[in-house]
């Protein structure tokens, strides 16, 4: 086993590790590109080799060796158990009720887990036009539960969304670079802190008065194996991209 420097790791790495740990082996996951895909592939590379990854491009059981840069990367299709059409992936598989966990990101989230990925500012004359809904509304509505991954800032964790793109009822946990929020009695509650993060740090980064679970946990740092696996997950041609 190679030696991995575990003393230093980034907040993004901690976030990926914390999210990956929440996936159990064999779970069927509907995964978006970016942070969710990184976490799901980390789970597959460590404790959950039989996690089934579904991407909205129609690839079922994708087993990429490199991190895909888009949901349609060729490696997703070539490594998948099967590739189906987009109407089928949303109709038969997602809406059909076969997915355990949906894995989403967003630009804004509120205390109920509702998500905004549409606009910042007014819809008709937005300050920032975001990409839009994509698969998020139905992923959150149809998966047994939904995990959200977002960097924890006041701009993202807001008292009131500028636009409600995706209803939050199905969001059971939010993994951030500071800790993990879990739904308690309908409200996202700070349930776990990453190493060296305080409740005050989390509150400061949250735009509403953050509830703290009575049994607040301290998450363990990434293990050497986790970091090694995570760092081995590189995009197919990172050189070109960087």
């Amino acid at each position: 086993m190679t030696q991995v420097e575990t003393a230093t790791y980034t907040a993004d790495e901690m976030m990926a590790v914390a999210a990956a740990r929440r996936l159990r082996n064999g779970m069927v996951c509907f995964v978006g590109i970016g942070l969710p895909s990184r976490a799901a592939n980390l789970a597959r590379a460590t404790h959950a080799p039989d996690c089934v990854l579904i991407y909205e491009s129609g690839t079922i059981g994708a087993k990429p060796e490199h991190l895909p840069l888009s949901i349609g990367d060729g490696e997703l299709a070539e490594s998948a158990d099967t590739v189906v059409s987009v109407p089928e992936i949303f109709g038969y598989w997602l809406q059909g009720g076969w997915v355990d966990v949906g894995f989403l990101g967003a630009a804004q989230i509120d205390r109920h887990g509702n998500l905004n990925s549409t606009v910042i500012g007014d819809y008709a004359r937005p300050k920032v036009r975001l990409p839009g809904a994509g698969g998020a509304p139905e992923i959150a509505a149809m998966c047994r539960e939904t995990f959200v991954m977002m960097r924890h800032t006041q701009r993202a964790f807001v008292e009131e969304l500028d636009f409600l793109t995706t209803g939050g009822d199905g969001v059971t946990c939010v993994v951030t670079d500071l800790g993990v929020l879990e739904r308690d009695d309908g409200e996202l509650t700070l349930a776990e802190l990453h190493p060296d993060v305080t409740v005050e740090d989390a509150q400061e980064a949250t735009g509403w008065e953050l509830r703290v679970a009575p049994d607040l946990r301290l998450g363990p740092p990434p293990t050497g194996d986790e970091l090694e696996a995570l760092r081995a997950l590189k995009p197919a041609n990172e050189d070109t991209v960087g």
């Binding site: 491009s57 888009s70 349609g72 060729g74 990409p131």
Partner: protein
């Protein structure tokens, strides 16, 4: 039966000002060459339809081809924003752009309804979101059990345009890998153009392949590399670097226009 014609001729004959045009491709086989031809031929006032408008739609919008966009996710995949799309929506440059936006599931159902010659498609969604008030959606109560589901109007473009790996001499088309919504677009459009990497004597049967018979296609045009910077499985890979560079190129109006002049307007029909 599809005719195999030059791309410029296909676009000239089949795409008209004011048309509703869907150039589809779900992260694979995106018809860039056809999009560039639409730009070169200066089509105006188009309603552009696509689930995942990315770089080629950014270019069409920035070059003032479109007055409306129907979509469900508009971004530069793995990179960030589409600056030309944002400039149109946020600052009306080069012209105001009307938006009709959906979720992927809603838009997939709408395309499938179009291909099925149905007036609308059904989806569990939209309820409780702000999207519902901003798009074309209605609620239908099941006559059998009283359950409510959302209805979205069928998408039936005037022209559907997709890229595929191969055609044969008879104008039949085969594509493989991620096939997205391409079959629905071709079957649901009044007219269709399929650009292909090459014409082959006969198709090799392949897993996960989609076959489109020539009699269901209006025109086939040969455009090698016609998906670039997207990819064509079995032919070339995605040019991820281009998507990153596009972020810089497209941020500035002048730089964008200069790039379009140099790599699209002043080129013969081929890839940029």
């Amino acid at each position: 039966m599809a005719e195999i014609v030059p791309l410029a001729e296909a676009v000239n004959e089949l795409v008209h000002d004011g048309d509703t045009v869907a150039l589809e491709g779900f992260t694979h086989l995106i018809p860039h060459a056809a999009g560039h031809e639409v730009i070169r031929q200066e089509r105006r006032d188009l309603t552009l339809v696509r689930m995942t408008p990315d770089v080629i739609y950014d270019q069409l919008i920035g070059m003032d081809c479109a007055s409306k966009l129907v979509f469900s996710w508009g971004g530069n995949p793995g990179v960030g924003s589409l600056h030309r799309l944002r400039d149109a929506v946020e600052n009306d440059w080069p012209a105001p752009l009307e938006l009709e936006e959906h979720s992927h599931a809603g838009m997939a159902a709408a395309y499938a309804a179009g291909a099925s010659n149905l007036p609308f498609g059904l989806v569990r969604g939209y309820e409780g979101t702000d999207l519902a008030a901003r798009t074309r959606v209605a609620w239908i109560t099941s006559p059998f059990d009283g359950e409510e589901v959302a209805a979205v109007p069928a998408i039936r473009p005037d022209v559907g345009i997709v890229h595929a790996q191969q055609a044969d001499e008879a104008g039949n088309v085969q594509l493989w890998g991620i096939s997205g919504i391409q079959k629905e677009v071709v079957l649901g459009s009044r007219r269709s153009i399929v650009t292909v990497e090459e014409v082959v004597p006969r198709f090799e049967p392949r897993p996960n392949a989609v076959f489109l018979p020539g009699w269901a296609i209006t025109a086939v045009a040969v455009a090698p590399g016609g998906a670039h910077p997207s990819y064509a499985l079995g032919y070339y890979e995605r040019d991820n670097g281009f998507y990153v560079r596009w972020d810089e190129i497209s941020r500035d109006r002048d730089r964008f226009q200069e790039w379009m002049r140099r790599y699209v307007l002043e080129r013969e029909p081929s890839i940029a």
